[in-house]
Symmetry: C2
Subunit: 284 residues, 2 copies
């Protein structure tokens, strides 16, 4: 694995290789890697000839009151985890990514000011902008994202379609701890008690799945049950519980076929998200 | 010259070729081609192995009261002019470029809401968005723009820098009619009388250059002289006359080294723009 800081050097290495017809896979991350990230890298390695992983804690996607400063960083550990799994670890420098006169912005408008975008203003424009930049630096054939950040995945896919990036976006399943909690770099913020209570998000998702299996199709009823369920946990404070169309992210009243259940819940001061696809079985 | 409507077909043709190490040049246009466009295509041909010209009247960059509908279109004539000069004429279809659920936006914020952006709200976001799309479809090594659209050229350069497009942007000199009027697809809107009077833009630029050669460095004085000069023309109505820094596009009070003089003037109902670099000579 080669560690590269300069985009020009990464481009050089990749373009020589790409001319031979090799496929390039790309996994953009903010570091603090866990099994969720590694599952993306492993898949990328299977489907491509060269794999680039980037680690960049992108200031543009953090709000002024968010956790940019305390966001976990451990490059040494991350590099060790990636060693042997990918070919290039790209660690761009903040000043080069965002020079003082930086003023461009990429936004997927209809999808960005709802759900997580409501409580995290400007977050998804920050995500779209850094991903567009990284896509232009790496020019991958395939890019890999986790389903855990469901709204992000939908937005990136839409950006790629709308702006004609010649890139295939793959969204891989959420990786979970043994009790069901979705893996997240932010889980380390949780106290022991909060960590135990955080499983409520997963339990809420499972409960919704059971309701749908039991032929419930009224999303408002599902929502109310989940809200009640989550509220019983002392450390939990709901940001939102929404059942939406998986592509437009617009709320749906009745589940026909499939819908996406999105959750954002504060556990103590830590905001966690999770989601699941609610599916009406053919036989139902 | 191959005429292509589908971006996937263009990409296929180009990628096979690019793998052999060939350089691709790109000239995006809205058609209604004139010598200004053709000078870009000729330069592209000299500097690249394959040249793509696109013709697409981009609805996103027209305001609701602007001339989208009547903007001149003559594909047959354009194709004839390009034949032999370029390798691919790319004519994307509006519905494929902007499907009903299109919602992405690229914006170069600090540079877009001033000068032409003031009277043409959203214009430069429309330009940046379509150029980003076309860049992703064509993936050129070199792209060519005219200095006549000075603010556009600065914005595209900034977008390419900020978003790390691996593309070199070339800005070529304005091509003029024999009396000095900058060539523009919109010149055909002018009546005979207006056409004669439209030369006032060029004369104003020349007058400013003479003032600077005569050691005038106070941009407000230059501005006032030009405003007076243009106002004497019956069909002329000034949109703006600004002397700005050539990179930041911010107004400058005193000319040190070089500055960019930007003009936008309505001649009758037709809005024309022109510009020149004001340069203090070393000896001055």
């Amino acid at each position: 694995m080669k560690i590269v800081q300069k985009s020009s050097l990464l481009r050089n290495d990749l373009s020589a290789f790409r001319r031979k017809g090799g496929l390039v896979g790309f996994v953009p991350t903010m570091g603090a890697l866990h099994e969720g990230h590694l599952s993306l890298v492993r898949r990328a390695k299977v489907e491509n000839d060269r794999v680039v992983v980037s680690i960049f804690v992108n200031p543009l996607q953090f709000g002024p009151k968010e956790d940019l400063k305390k966001y976990p960083r451990d490059l040494k550990k991350d590099a060790k985890l990636l060693s042997g799994l990918c070919d290039f670890l790209f660690i761009p420098q903040k000043d080069r990514m965002y020079p003082a006169d930086f003023c461009s912005n990429v936004e997927v408008k209809a999808l960005s000011d709802i759900h997580c975008g409501l409580s995290r203003k400007g977050h998804f424009a920050g995500v779209a902008t850094i991903v567009a930049k990284l896509f232009n630096i790496v020019s991958p054939d395939n890019a890999y994202f986790g389903q855990k950040d469901a709204q992000q995945a939908v937005i990136i896919k839409k950006m790629v379609d709308d702006l004609n990036f010649p890139i295939k976006v793959h969204v891989l399943p959420t990786v979970r701890e043994s009790d069901g909690l979705a893996m997240s770099s932010r889980n380390i913020y949780l106290s022991d008690k909060e960590r135990r209570e955080a499983v409520v998000l997963y339990q809420a998702l499972k409960s919704a799945e059971r309701m749908v299996a039991g032929k419930e199709r009224d999303t408002e009823k599902i929502r109310m049950v989940l809200v009640d369920f989550i509220k019983r946990v002392p450390s939990a404070r709901i940001d939102y519980v929404d059942v939406v169309d998986a592509k437009s992210l617009l709320p749906v009243k009745t589940i026909n076929g499939t819908a996406l259940l999105l959750l954002a819940v504060y556990i103590g001061k830590t905001r966690l998200i999770d989601n699941t696809i609610l599916k009406i079985r053919q036989s139902a």
